[in-house]
């Protein structure tokens, strides 16, 4: 092992020992709680986005033909629709099928039977890209034989907007709490520098370089951030497990197996890395500000 590696190993050991003493772990816990808020929020939003994706990824547009339109007209329209590249799926619902489906809805069978004739038109259900939904619906309404177009754009737009607000809010929260993390580390390192003042002075007198003196503080900031990130992930996992008991029961009543899911491995890794980097940054700011002031007299 060369001198450089030995010095880093020694600095790491020193930092670990300092982390184990107050206020090292307490600061890590504060960081953990702060980081758990955006991380937990992200996990929730990500779970909900999974649900929302199934609803909105392929928005459907229903085209109703005029009741008196012939099957030949419907076939012609079908050809036009299948040739349209903006549509990813075209499904023809004949009026007989629509009536049959309606009569299968509980309580409506008698009503349908009493009608005597089929009041429903032929229809196409087409699926399309979400962003072009409005203009597409307008285009489709102008096709010959189409009497009425119904697109679920409002619902899709609202959900997308809510998701955007949620993400923006989480982003702002993460930025604020990230700044908080830097401040917490800044202060821990400042306190550490004050308690180590004598050692720093003596080290400088016997020939310690600035890098040697800074190194344990950088490691401390990094380790404290990483420990905080790990605590945050543990908090998120525990909260999701608690929430899932209730969410599971609620989802089951809707016949769904929906569960809130934990952050993906990549997102969990990114949370840890971000906490570590911010801890390092807090240490860097604190060391740059406070260490120069300590010079042997």
């Amino acid at each position: 092992m060369n001198a450089w590696l030995r010095q880093h190993a020694a600095a790491l050991r020193t930092a670990l020992a300092r982390l184990a003493r107050p206020p090292g772990l307490l600061s890590a816990a504060v960081i953990g709680i702060a980081v758990s808020l955006p991380a937990g929020g992200y996990a929730l939003l990500d779970s909900l986005r999974g649900v929302a994706a199934r609803v909105t990824l392929e928005p459907q547009i229903s085209l109703f033909l005029a009741p008196q339109a012939s099957r030949a007209q419907a076939d012609a329209l079908g050809k036009v629709l299948r040739a349209d590249r903006r549509l990813s799926g075209v499904h023809f619902v004949p009026r007989e099928t629509a009536l049959k489906e309606l009569s299968e809805v509980q309580g409506l069978a008698e009503v349908v039977a009493s009608l005597g004739r089929n009041p429903l038109p032929d229809a196409f259900v087409v699926t399309a890209q979400a962003d072009s939904l409005d203009s597409l619906a307008a285009d489709l309404a102008r096709l010959p034989g189409v009497a009425h177009v119904q697109a679920d754009t409002v619902w899709a737009r609202r959900l997308a907007a809510l998701a955007r607000i949620g993400r923006l809010g989480l982003g702002l929260l993460a930025a604020l709490l990230g700044a908080g993390l830097v401040a917490v580390t800044f202060n821990t390192i400042r306190l550490q520098i004050l308690t180590q003042r004598e050692e720093i002075e003596v080290s400088k007198l016997i020939g310690a370089t600035d890098a040697f003196i800074r190194r344990p503080f950088y490691y401390l900031g990094l380790l404290q951030g990483l420990a905080g990130g790990a605590i945050a992930l543990a908090i998120v996992a525990a909260l999701l497990a608690l929430l899932n008991r209730e969410v599971g029961a609620l989802a089951a009543s809707y016949g769904s197996g929906f569960r809130l899911s934990f952050l993906s491995a990549a997102d969990a890794g990114a949370t840890l890395a971000a906490a570590g980097v911010l801890g390092w940054l807090g240490a860097h700011l604190s060391v740059s500000r406070h260490l120069r002031a300590i010079e042997p007299r």
Partner: protein, 231 residues
């Protein structure tokens, strides 16, 4: 690093420390040193005497660049100390063993770890570092106390730990500021004997002391400071 005088040292003089026309004025106008010039030969032992406030500590602090001269030049081991870049100062200090009146030991670790400190700075291999620490403690007669906390030791013993820390890096130069000031006569004599022993194996030594009588017993060169001037 010079640990023993080279064969040529007797024929051609080699200055390890050289002050020329050095003045030191502190912010606020207090003049601590005025026109100080002297040189220390490699392998020499000299005492620096004078009443408290005469400028002894200031003079010693100029050598490891703890203070910088207001005028004149201080040359140590061929380097103009006043002109050194900040980043170069640690490497200058590693070649100078410093001993202070108040020892400046760290009380959160034992004697062994205190002496280890200078070796930790340079990333010495553990086995070699341990060997050197024990050798240094042996020379000051404290090998048996390596596990003790400095606070458990007497003033004289603490000063000897400080000396062990100063010499563990095998510096060419030892600089001591009033190392005997707080010690009884017996401990003081023992501490000075240790410095003399290091000097006998080739280390250049400069010791500041206000105790003229103690200094004169050694019959070595004496630099006497009066009001910031060498007398």
């Amino acid at each position: 690093m010079t640990c023993a005088p080279s064969p040529r040292a007797s024929s051609r003089r080699r200055w390890l420390v050289s002050f020329s026309a050095v003045a030191k004025r502190y912010p606020g106008g207090q003049e601590a040193l005025r026109d100080v010039s002297f040189s220390l030969e490699a392998g020499e032992l000299a005492f620096l005497t004078g009443r408290s406030g005469a400028g002894k500590s200031t003079l010693l602090k100029l050598i490891p660049a703890i203070e910088h001269p207001s005028a004149g030049t201080v040359v140590v081991n061929g380097q103009n100390v006043g002109a050194l870049r900040r980043a170069a100062i640690p490497y200058l200090r590693r070649n100078i063993g410093l001993v202070f009146q108040d020892q400046k030991l760290l009380y959160d670790r034992n004697v062994y770890d205190n002496v280890m400190l200078p070796l930790a700075l340079s990333g010495q291999a553990a086995a070699e570092a341990a060997r050197r620490v024990r050798a240094a403690l042996d020379k000051v007669g404290l090998l048996a106390r390596e596990k003790a906390n400095p606070i458990e030791l007497s003033g004289g013993e603490q000063q000897r730990v400080a000396i062990a820390r100063a010499v563990v890096n095998r510096p060419a130069l030892l600089v001591a500021d009033e190392p005997t000031a707080n010690l009884d006569a017996e401990s003081a004599a023992r501490v000075l004997d240790i410095f003399v022993a290091f000097n006998q194996v080739g280390v250049t030594v400069l010791i500041a002391s206000h105790d003229q009588a103690l200094v004169e017993r050694y019959g070595k060169r004496v630099l006497h400071l009066v009001d910031g001037r060498l007398g």
